[in-house]
């Protein structure tokens, strides 16, 4: 008896009781559907966050004062850092504020970022129209700015903003250009921003300090070694350790990946439990089925079926139940992930890995929970089984 025939026999037995087969599969369907759906959300989130971080440039280092230490950074600290850390190609002091900007009668609450001419290359974020401000603009504290796509759309509509003046905190800034669109991600909108020179920004807020330093590591330098070096430089400068927090984009990426992966695993584990429950359901029904078909087993044995034949027959039945449930569950999971993506706006990616895992697990569940009922069937004494009513 070859595999195709075993499958045919098992299939007929299941078809003979469609409702029961479906209800038995339902546990696996829901289990696998949840695994696929939830893991796809986890994966989608991870992919989006890491794409976002990578979009910022993966060779970036952020330096900011450690909270509660009373240390504050100045523009000079950034210049000093550039002198002392040769592995950094660009060092940019930055601050950002939530402010209202105005053009004519239109107002817009946005994030004003005070940066330097290095911003486009550092962040991999360039003007689409016009030009970015220069080192000279920064040095001269010129009241110039670039606006993000969202700000441009809301303040100017169809008008070309380049050369127009907008008002920030009562002061007039000339728009040099409009930044390209980066698109919304994870609830933040990088296009909802206004970029001004750091010097102008500090003047505007009457602050002597900057909020953070963004630096770029030269190609070929190790991120971890570089952040260690920067930490050492600031330790020396402030004569105490832990005054600043230094982290590279790479580390951030790793952390985010780790967090979202943990999330995926946890979601998967919860869904896995329902798969387990589905498996127990299969075992339960298979045990009932073995008892119901005691006579059939006896007849088959009397006419020459070996234990192996009976075992295979019942095992294939439970694998069909679980694998069938698995396949339907994958469809359910894909639907679920689509719904989550559309309705809740969660990013979701159904990966080949999670599909393979779901299929593998459901087949494994079928085999694992099918072995006991199948071996119980195979071990039936044919004489007793034939007499069974």
């Amino acid at each position: 008896m070859n595999m195709r025939e075993y499958v045919a026999v098992a299939w007929r037995a299941l078809i003979g009781n469609k409702m029961r087969a479906f209800l038995t599969m339902l546990g696996v369907i829901i289990g696998v559907g949840c695994v696929i759906g939830l893991v796809s959300v986890g994966e989608g989130t991870r992919a989006q966050v890491s794409a976002q971080i990578q979009g910022l440039g993966s060779d970036l280092v952020m330096i900011m004062p450690a909270p509660g230490r009373g240390i504050r950074l100045k523009i000079e600290d950034a210049e000093d850092l550039k002198q002392r850390a040769p592995e950094l190609s660009r060092v940019m002091p930055t601050s950002s504020f939530s402010m209202q900007v105005k053009y004519g009668t239109q107002t817009k609450d946005t994030t004003v970022q005070a940066v330097t001419q290095d911003f486009p290359d550092l962040r991999n974020f360039y003007p689409e129209r016009g030009k970015f401000f220069t080192a000279e603009d920064v040095a001269a504290r010129r009241k110039v700015c670039l606006i993000g796509k969202t700000v441009a759309d809301e303040l100017f509509g169809n008008t070309n903003p380049v050369g127009k003046d907008i008002v920030i905190m009562g002061q007039s800034f000339t728009v040099l250009g409009v930044m390209e669109s980066k698109g919304t991600a994870l609830g933040t909108n990088p296009d909802d921003t206004v970029l001004v020179p750091i010097t102008t920004g500090m003047q505007l807020t009457r602050s002597r300090y900057i909020q953070s330093i963004t630096a770029q590591i030269k190609p070929g330098y190790d991120a971890k070694a570089t952040t260690d070096h920067i930490t050492a430089i600031f330790e020396q400068k402030f004569r105490r350790s832990d005054q600043v927090r230094v982290f590279s984009q790479e580390e951030l990426l790793n952390t985010v990946n780790q967090v979202t992966r943990t999330m995926s695993i946890m979601l998967g584990a919860i869904a896995g439990i329902s798969l387990l429950v589905g498996g127990i359901g299969i075992m339960n029904i298979m045990l009932v089925s073995v008892t119901e078909r005691t006579r059939e087993i006896g007849i088959r044995k009397a006419i020459g079926a070996r234990e192996r034949d009976i075992m295979t027959q019942f095992l294939i039945e439970s694998v069909i139940l679980s694998a069938g449930g698995g396949l339907l569950g994958i469809l359910l999971g894909m639907g679920l992930s689509q719904i989550l993506a559309r309705v809740a706006g969660w990013p979701s990616v159904v990966t080949v890995g999670s599909v393979l895992m779901a299929v593998g697990f459901s087949v494994a569940v079928g085999v694992f929970f099918g072995i006991y009922p199948a071996s119980k069937a195979a071990r039936q004494d044919p004489i007793a089984a034939l007499r069974y009513e």
Binding site: E5, E307, P382, L386
Partner: protein, 270 residues
Amino acid sequence: MTQVKAPEPQTVIELIGVKKRYQLGRSSIEVLHGIDLKVSKGEFVVIMGPSGSGKSTLMNIIGCLDRVSEGTYLLAGEDVSSKTPVQLATVRNRKIGFVFQNYNLLPRLTAVENAELPLVYRGIGPAARRRKAIEQLTKMGLAARVHHKPSEMSGGEQQRVAIARALVGDPEILLADEPTGNLDSKVGAQIMSILVRLNDAGMTIVMVTHDPEIALYGKRIVRLKDGLLVGDEPVQHRRTPPDEHEGANAEGAQPRVQAGLAEGGEAVPA
């Protein structure tokens, strides 16, 4: 110098000092106390005895469904008392055809699917085994019923499907356990006529019955009591099977039982 010897009848079943004990908790019960029995090819042996005499146990042993506790069982010259369960399954599949009192057909399968089942476990391909199964069913006069399920057939028809199933694999012996027990006397007689014809064609048959009338269709009656053989004699006034029409009319379905047998059966697709 040439001496013509009568050909020695080939021994199909040989039981030598067969005992069977069942373990019940700590005590064991001996059901067969040492049976010696020899059945030659072409015989029609009827085993009779009151209930509890051990005739079912003896049938199970002859049918290789059970193993002897002591003694030897030779089936077609082969010692089956020391075989493993897997080997016994093969013996059952190839050398033994079973007919049961309650037919024991699989209710979900059609007549032809039931009849071909032994060949399925022999690893014979679908086309070949279907052809053989239809051939046997046709001989049983069931050519028009091959795609019916047991629930759609009368008791007599079901038993004929069971006989077709028993014969499909060309067994050495046909074991019939109360084959007419669930049938009325007319249909029972019809089944017996099939068995007699099969025996006439050379098939060795061992049948268990408690019905003395039915027993008279056999050639030899073996009596069992309390696990021992208490009688073994040939049937003096053997009953002849009923006329083909008589049996057929009782069934009302297929009037060509014996005719089908005699013709050797062309497969008639239903």
